[in-house]
């Protein structure tokens, strides 16, 4: 009996030991991190750096401060301007070649006034006329983020500007004419959402750099804000955001505006060229709330048309041209954009009733026919549809005819396009 008891005790002891061992293994095993990301505490520094990264995205710093295929923020990229080539500087925190020795005060002064750490006046290719509106807290967050990235030792290249534009003192005159220093001031009459949108569009978004015409001095006047213009050296037309005949958004749904900005494609239109770049590098990373705020502000921009609608005389099309355009459209375009130009949005944008087709500048439509284009691949549209180039299939007469056709067919209110306009854009490299 006692032997039996002893055996039982040993068994029980072994069982207890086994339970303890299993418990210890389970307890000591690391396992996966908890699912809820909120459970991971981020300290104040991390929070500021994260916010800075987000704001740097909103400001699209990498669009210029990175060479194609180069390291982020290391600069070096040539920026062709009508005045000569500018070379974008290294803004990684390298002590010798970057901004490693800068302070938050230096960075804020540069963003806010366009004056570099050593007192040099910046050329306005750096959008300090917009960034001046960024708050001190946001500037500090962006600075904290830039200090946290990997330093890259890469010497800045000297600008190659023509005389007299290589004389930075001239910038004093430019600044007197076109630069208004000052952080964004909220409009108390508007909603918090409208103000958030206005802040993002006017400051970090620096939308005015393209969507406000730039004059011969490289300046743009505030009274013409968002009225559209050709983008110098890129040969795309940035449409007016204040005219319902161009990209004015007065009669768009908020969701379509938000989709255009964040997804890159919407039921009303799709982004290509320089705007696709902005969506790809910047806007796709913004929160739904911020994008919606921008949409609310853009939709509410006061509508003003700077020129009268085209006269019926100006809209007359030679029937032979119309027929040539109709034929090219039926063969090459209708499969995606439909016989009636209704498209198949968001994959294939509508052409009927599309302001970017009928607006006074036909440049973007001609470029699309010549070179095609893909919408940007974004988080919400990672596999975008695209349009093929036709420059090797259609001659100048046919390109002009098909663009004329889509500008006047289906009740569209555009004007005809001349073959010379197609020829001029054909000779440019696509970009």
């Amino acid at each position: 009996v006692s032997k039996l008891r002893l055996g039982l005790r040993i068994l029980v002891a072994l069982a207890v030991l086994a339970v303890i061992a299993i418990g210890a293994i389970v307890w000591m095993h690391p396992g996966a991190l908890p699912n809820n990301p909120k459970a991971v505490a981020t300290n104040a520094t991390t929070q500021v750096i994260n916010r800075g990264e987000y704001l740097a995205r909103a400001g699209d710093c990498v669009a210029c401060h990175r060479m194609p295929n180069g390291k982020a923020f290391a600069g070096g990229r040539p920026m062709p301007t009508p005045f000569g080539a500018l070379y974008v500087p290294n803004i990684t925190p390298d002590d010798d070649t970057g901004i490693g020795k800068w302070t938050a005060d230096d960075f804020y002064r540069m963003m806010h006034t366009g004056v570099s750490r050593d007192g040099t006046l910046l050329y306005p290719a750096m959008p300090f006329a917009s960034y001046t509106k960024v708050t001190r807290a946001d500037c500090d967050a962006i600075f904290a983020y830039l200090m946290s990235v990997t330093p890259v030792k890469q010497q800045n290249r000297r600008h190659e500007l023509k005389f007299p534009f290589n004389k930075r003192d001239l910038l004093l005159g430019w600044r007197a004419l076109y630069f208004n220093e000052g952080e964004y001031a909220a409009d108390a009459k508007q909603s918090a959402e409208w103000n958030r949108g206005a802040y993002l569009v006017q400051s970090l978004g620096h939308c005015a750099m393209c969507h406000t015409a730039i004059n011969a001095l490289g300046g743009s006047s505030e009274s013409k804000a968002f009225e559209g213009g050709m983008i110098p050296n890129q040969n795309w037309y940035a449409p007016s955001l204040t005219s319902n005949r161009e990209a004015g958004l007065g009669n768009w749904d908020i969701q379509d505006i938000a989709d255009l900005l964040q997804v890159g494609a919407s039921h009303r239109g799709t982004t290509y060229g320089p705007m696709a770049e902005v969506v790809y590098n910047s806007l796709q990373y913004l929160t739904d709330e911020d994008v919606k705020a921008m949409a609310v502000y853009l939709k509410a921009l006061p509508q003003r048309d700077t020129e009268p609608p085209p006269t019926s005389q100006a809209r007359l099309v030679n029937p032979t041209v119309m027929e040539m355009g109709r034929k090219a459209y039926a063969t090459q375009c209708a499969v995606c954009h439909g016989d009636e130009g209704k498209g198949n949005a968001p994959a294939y944008p509508p052409l009927a009733g599309n302001q970017s087709i009928t607006m006074s500048s036909p440049v973007n439509s001609i470029r699309m026919v010549l070179n095609g284009g893909y919408a940007p691949g974004t988080k919400k549209n990672p596999r975008p549809h695209g349009m093929p180039p036709f420059s090797h299939i259609l001659n100048d007469d046919e390109v002009a005819a098909v663009v004329t056709y889509i500008r006047v067919a289906w009740g569209n209110s555009g004007t005809p396009v001349a073959p010379a306009q197609a020829n001029e854009l054909r000779t440019l490299l696509p970009e």
């Binding site: 770049e277 790809y280 994959a347 284009g373 990672p382 349009m387 093929p388 970009e431």
Partner: protein, 247 residues
Amino acid sequence: MHHRSRVLNKMRRTRLALIMAALQAASASALAQSDAVPAFKQVDSIEARVQGCVTCHGQRGQGTNNGYFPRIAGKPAGYLYNQLIAFRDGSRRYSPMNYLVAYLPDAYLREIAEHFAKQRPPFAAKETAPVDSATTARGQSLVTAGEPSKGIPACIACHGAGLTGMEPGIPGLVGLRPTYIVAQLTRWRVGDRHAAEPDCMKRVAVRLTDADIAAVAAWLSQQAAPKDPSPESSNLVRMPFACGSQR
């Protein structure tokens, strides 16, 4: 009188032949052109998504009747993906391509590459441009045997015995037109086109003369379509030069 009617008859026949020839040419070009016209069944499909490629590379990547744009169908997916990435990031320069893929993410470029790698459309009729027999012989010798005294390996040593390429990163050479092959070899030789380091193709191209390049391109363009157009499996053979794109 009799003589005159004979002349007229002859003229009529010539005219008829000319018209027939013109019609044939037109229908051939219409046929080839139709491959280059956008077409698809479903909007939410990879076929619809790659319509941006078809006016130059053909509906199934078989190429078009344009003399330059290459056949991409059946090339290894790894090779096509490397090219798309290089076009997007600007390390391979051809502005119409650089522009089209500038804002497309890696995963999507991979999907596009895999789509065209899977295609097996028929090959276009081979070119019949007159080339003298010495050039053809020189081309054949370089492609199949190389020139050991100059350190030039045979093309088939890497591009496959059937010249259909090798997984994962070496393209097939059959079905490419001479203008395209000459342009690419020349770009490699002058340092305008690169591959992943170690860049084996660069080591070959710098050893070739203009005449060598023309001979290789001419001979390649005269070859019949391969029975099996699929690329060879990876590294069945020891390659003469180390290639970054095979890693």
